[in-house]
Point group: C2
Chain length 282, copies 2
């Protein structure tokens, strides 16, 4: 496995792979890799002839009061995980090469970014869309892999690629969870043992929504109230949102429909966590 900060090397190796007729897969990450990322690389490996992972902590998707500087950076361990999961190349560019002096171009996806994470984190999705489009253009892969854990993000990326005719296929892979239900996140490592226990309220709230809706609850406001009650049960958890939304438009629902997505965001201590669950009513 090759690891390089060089765009030229990345493009050379991708071009060589394509010249051999290999399908090129891309797994963009911010590093601090966990088993969720590993499953993305493994899925990419199983579907593509040449597997590229990228590691880049993107400053433009962090707000001024967010955790950019303290975001975990674990390059050596990340490279080892990528190697074990079957990556052929890891691209880990320097910030100054991704955002050179005079950088001034941004991508905005309107509509689906207005609520939820977009509302809680102004500017976040502009940074995400811009860096993901850059990484797509750098790697020129055939297919890219994202986790369902960042539900609104993968929807934004799909919308951007459709709207801008980006010639890449987007694959969304299942959220990986701890046995007790906690969704894996690079930010989980900020949690103390006590906070780790409280963080379970996110996945519990989602399961509560699923249980109520699948049992026939017709009042979505009541479902949201039940989610809030579960989320706020532990002390020290502050909820950003608890939502039952249309999975394509992310419009908040007033009545249940066959396919829905429940989404939550909350602060546990100083750590902000998100989670979501696709809910089908048979």
């Amino acid at each position: 496995m090759l690891a390089t900060p060089s765009l030229t090397e990345l493009r050379q190796h991708v071009a060589q792979a394509r010249a051999k007729g290999l399908k090129v897969g891309l797994v963009p990450t911010m590093g601090a890799l966990h088993a969720g990322h590993r499953s993305l690389v493994e899925t990419c490996r199983s579907e593509c002839g040449f597997v590229v992972a990228t590691i880049f902590v993107n400053p433009t998707q962090f707000g001024p009061n967010e955790d950019f500087t303290r975001y975990p950076r674990t390059l050596e361990a990340d490279l080892e995980m990528c190697r074990a999961a079957g990556a052929d190349l890891v691209f880990h560019p320097e910030t100054a090469s991704v955002y050179p002096e005079g950088f001034s171009t941004y991508v905005d996806v309107e509509g689906i970014t207005a609520r939820l994470e977009g509302e809680s984190r102004p500017g976040h999705f502009r940074g995400v869309a811009t860096v993901v489009l850059k990484l797509f253009n750098m790697a020129q892969a055939d297919v890219a892999y994202f986790g369902q854990k960042d539900y609104q993000q993968q929807l934004l990326i799909r919308t951007m690629c459709r709207d801008l005719d980006v010639p890449i296929e987007i694959r969304t892979c299942p959220t990986i969870r701890e046995p007790d239900g906690l969704a894996l996140s690079s930010r989980n490592r900020y949690l103390s043992p006590a906070e780790r226990a409280k963080a379970l309220s996110l996945s519990k709230a989602l399961r509560m929504a699923e249980r109520l809706l699948q049992a026939g609850e017709k009042n979505v406001s009541a479902v949201r109230a039940a989610m809030m009650a579960v989320l706020e049960e532990p002390t020290g958890v502050r909820v950003d949102y608890a939502s039952v939304s249309d999975p394509h438009t992310l419009a908040e629902l007033t009545t249940p429909q066959p396919e829905m997505v429940a989404l939550v965001a909350a602060r546990v201590g100083t750590t902000r966590l998100i989670d979501n669950l696709w809910i089908s009513i048979p």
Copy 2:
């Protein structure tokens, strides 16, 4: 020469050309083609193995009070000119396929779009950047050709491609002029014979700036005043701007420098025209 509104056909033919090892060139236009466009297609033909021209009057780059609906549409003549200039394929998509229901993604290039056309035409450059990136992604060409006539536009496109790592080379080709100096423009056909004569004030103002600066004039404000005087000499010409700027940043200059660009925009009757001239001081 093939002419098609189908993105699928465009991509098939480009892929076939690339599989043959041909360099793919792209000439994006809004149709109503004139000898300026012809020279772009001819230059592309001389440098590329497969020549694609696109014809699309892009609604998102017109303001609500601009000339989108009356913009000239001359598809049959355009196709004939493309054929004669050596195009292999003309792509002329439908508006509904370029901007499908729910379209919501836009590209903004900040900084260099703040002044001049960006100030006179709010939203114009967002529409330009978005559609040009879409056309680049649709055609996946190796090189694209633009006219210097739209100076700020080609600078915006270069900036966008650098910032977003778009894998395409941008070539800017000289402005083509009538023998008396009038820069060719699809909008020239709006002009009455009397207006056509008045429109010469644009190129005359640029030549005045060049003459003064090359003669050693150190006061750029005086140069701009002289340009304004030339522009406003004919009755019925209303000036949007007369600028002497840095050719890379488009910052307005206070003192001359070795390389400069003079830019003008003015309304002649109801027709808005632009022109520019690169000025070097030996």
